[in-house]
């Protein structure tokens, strides 16, 4: 065995860096409609191939095709389009607001709106979501008041989080949206725990979680899959593979060696890989996995294949580490544009209506912002009462915190 060649350390590198021309010809995009739709009680092992393919419904002409076509009423499609467009309008506005120095931080979900909005519409209203920080579309699609979202970002006196969290770290029990953590991955096993609790109680609600492809490297990803399989938890676990984790490409998370959907296989769970920019495909997969979960058949891992069109957050400048035209070269397009074209192709939408809606939503966001700013901004001093910073550490304030509150003069 001796006298072998020397070993060497391999460090994965993305195909393109700033200055290079973006090129995704290595990304295999199967034709829409080409992946089989199994019954929900299929054995996981029998659909191992699904983890390597890609479920797609909208074809190049924006027609809905194939067995995964969820055949939705145009009403639902309109809802979805509106929620995705509102999410984008809101993101754009808040991004600029941060650039104007009015809020401290922001994270857009541009290009990934279908990953949350299609789920929100496919799930029951009281199914519980355990999002990461890029699923604001869930709140918007479920009709959470935009003004409350914005007040959270402004940390003003109406911020439901009382100024305790960075912008975008929403929480709403009423809207089935679990409090966002700054720590990556922690929500994944929590969702499984919530689902186990639901099963334990004989409830019929399921849990759904989202994690970035980068964060799948955390131990909590493994714990979630493992507990989910052992206790057959009614949960849907989504990996949002948007190709990037701040500056590191998905190969640093292991994405060059296998798909993230295929991680399911070793746990005996179904792993489905989906065109994440195809509203109908995401909807159909959410429906399938929810039905499976509700039928007591356990968890599904879903890889939502998409692209992070903008910077990681307002603290990030992606032109430092990737070609600036990657988003344009992205082969799966823009989820809003694709759904719009589909609606037009079935005669349920028009360019004029689209323009009018864009206009309407932009105005809505602007007006909401005006209202929010009339309540106040952190910079003006509008925020929760200072003494509230000592509350909610515990249910009741213990002596040492009331002493500290006193010392603080709050």
């Amino acid at each position: 065995m001796r006298n072998r060649g020397r070993l060497s350390l391999r460090v994965p590198q993305p195909k393109h860096r700033p200055g290079d021309k973006a090129d995704f010809s290595n990304v295999a995009v199967p034709p829409a409609g080409s992946v089989e739709r199994p019954p929900v009680d299929v054995k996981a092992r029998d659909i191992a191939g699904h983890a390597y393919s890609m479920i797609r419904v909208l074809d190049d002409e924006a027609k809905a095709v194939g067995p995964w076509n969820p055949r939705l009423d145009p009403e639902i499609l309109h809802k979805g389009l509106r929620a995705m467009m509102l999410t984008r309008a809101y993101d754009d506005r808040m991004y600029r607001t941060q650039r104007q120095g009015k809020i401290s931080f922001y994270m857009k979900s541009t290009g990934e709106e279908a990953a949350s909005v299609a789920y929100a519409l496919a799930l029951e209203r009281d199914d519980m979501c355990f999002p990461s920080y890029r699923q604001q579309g869930l709140l918007i699609a479920r009709g959470y008041p935009l003004i409350d979202m914005m007040c959270q970002c402004y940390s003003n006196a109406r911020d439901p989080m009382k100024g305790r969290q960075l912008p975008v770290m929403y929480s709403s029990r009423d809207y089935g949206f679990f409090t966002i953590s700054g720590n990556l991955g922690t929500q994944f096993p929590q969702a499984v725990g919530w689902a186990m609790a639901s099963a334990y109680k004989g409830d019929d609600r399921i849990a759904v979680s989202w994690i970035g492809e980068g964060a799948t490297a955390e131990g909590d990803f493994h714990h979630a899959l493992n507990f989910a399989t052992v206790y057959r938890a009614p949960v849907i676990l989504n990996v949002v593979n948007n190709q990037w984790a701040i500056s590191s490409f998905q190969g640093i998370a292991g994405g060059e060696e296998s798909t993230f959907a295929s991680r399911a296989i070793g746990y005996g769970l179904p792993g489905l890989r989906v065109d994440g920019n195809d509203f109908l495909a995401v909807y159909a997969v959410a429906q399938w996995a929810a039905e499976r979960a509700r039928a007591n058949l356990g968890a599904t891992l879903v890889e939502l294949y998409t692209y992070r069109a903008e910077g990681h957050s307002t603290s990030d400048d992606p032109s430092r580490y990737r070609p600036s035209d990657e988003w344009k070269a992205w082969p799966l397009g823009d989820p809003i544009d694709r759904l719009k074209r589909h609606l037009i192709s079935i005669g349920a939408w028009s360019e004029q209506q689209h323009e009018a809606l864009t206009e309407e939503l932009t105005t809505l966001v602007k007006e909401t912002q005006r209202e929010v700013e009339s309540i106040g901004t952190l910079a003006d001093g509008s925020r929760a009462p200072t003494q509230s910073m000592f509350e909610d550490v515990f249910k009741d304030i213990p002596w040492h915190l009331s002493q500290q509150r006193e010392q603080s003069g709050a």
């Binding site: 096993p189 725990g193 249910k395």
Partner: protein
């Protein structure tokens, strides 16, 4: 009332709570069919059913992460970490999640979670079956830390912890499971049955969190301690011939500052004792509190007695363990000056 040892008392607490509240459930490594490596959950699966007390995969982070989600749903999970030495994989879920969910969501969610785990030395367990990590939790805002020292308290505190709406770390002094232990390892083991605090009510009652108890009243010197060291301190007082006021803190956060101040103002002298490593141990906080609140009453420096700043070495169990001799020495030092 039946005499119970600490294992039986804890088992009874869990049994009572499973009976009272369908939202209480128990899981952890080996806690189901087998009843736990220390038998604390013995018989609970058989009595209450497999979904109320069950085995979990060996992943402490997973156990706590799952429990956090269950807590958010509205259950009151009680999880066991097999040894406190194995709690570190779960540290992120405890510190970043369980402890902060109420705060970060402004009360929208909270996690009524109890984490039980045996801690401490005295059983020749070596470096990974002997640790006392309480100070790693007392530093974290949003967690309560509880340590009983006898069967009556163990049951009452555990029921309080389970009913508490905040996450509680419940550290069980494993050397006390089967009998009180004053550090005299050379003496035969005493069963709890001979000890008055083993006279445990069978049904429901609580011992409130945040209240200390006086384990031995005295006038000369205050000892602030908890867990196994309560018994060691009482023995040391006799051996040193010091009329020590031994305070069993029972809850470390929120600590019973009134009981501390009352005692130190009375005695003017203080010894702080724990098994955990000295540096940055909870004893440091106690020292700081005492000198902040009682500086002008103090006649001598507060003496800290603790585990040495080394891992727990298997063959040097009794050199490491801060036994009655070391505590008595500290008492004498505190009295001399």
């Amino acid at each position: 009332m039946p005499a119970m040892n600490m294992i039986q008392a804890l088992n009874s607490a869990l049994d009572v709570m499973l009976g009272r509240d369908p939202n209480v459930l128990i899981f952890g490594e080996d806690v189901g069919y087998f009843g736990g490596v220390f038998r604390v959950t013995d018989g609970l699966q058989r009595k209450h059913g497999v979904t109320r007390c069950f085995d979990s995969p060996i992943g402490e982070a997973g156990i706590v992460g799952i429990a956090v989600g269950m807590g958010a749903y509205g259950l009151r999970p009680v999880v066991e970490i097999q040894f406190a030495d194995y709690i570190y994989p779960a540290y992120d879920q405890i510190v970043s999640e369980a402890a902060r969910i109420r705060y970060r969501s402004a009360g929208d969610f909270h996690v009524p979670l109890t984490i039980r785990t045996p801690y401490g030395g005295g059983i020749y367990g070596g470096q990974t079956h002997s640790q006392s990590p309480e100070a790693l939790f007392t530093h974290v805002a949003g967690i309560k830390t509880v340590i009983p020292s006898n069967p009556i308290d163990a049951k009452g505190l555990l029921m309080s912890a389970i009913e508490d709406d905040d996450p509680v770390i419940f550290l069980e002094p494993k050397r006390l499971y089967n009998g009180p232990f004053d550090g005299h390892h050379e003496k035969p083991v005493q069963p709890w049955a001979k000890h008055p605090l083993s006279d445990v009510p069978e049904g429901y009652y609580t011992v409130p969190l945040g209240e200390a108890a006086v384990a031995r009243p005295g006038r000369d010197l205050t000892v602030l301690t908890y867990g196994t060291m309560v018994h060691v301190a009482v023995a040391a007082a006799e051996e040193a011939g010091v009329d020590a006021d031994v305070i069993d803190l029972r809850t470390l956060v929120p600590v019973d500052i009134k009981a501390i101040v009352k005692s130190v103002e009375k005695t003017g002298r203080c010894v702080v004792a724990h098994e955990a490593t000295l540096t940055s141990g909870y004893g440091a906080e106690l020292c700081a509190l005492v000198q902040e609140h009682c500086f002008y009453h103090l006649e001598a420096p507060v003496q800290r007695i603790a585990g040495w700043d080394t891992p727990y070495p298997h063959a040097f169990e009794w050199e490491y363990f801060p036994g009655p001799k070391r505590v008595a020495q500290a008492m004498r030092r505190a009295m001399e000056k």
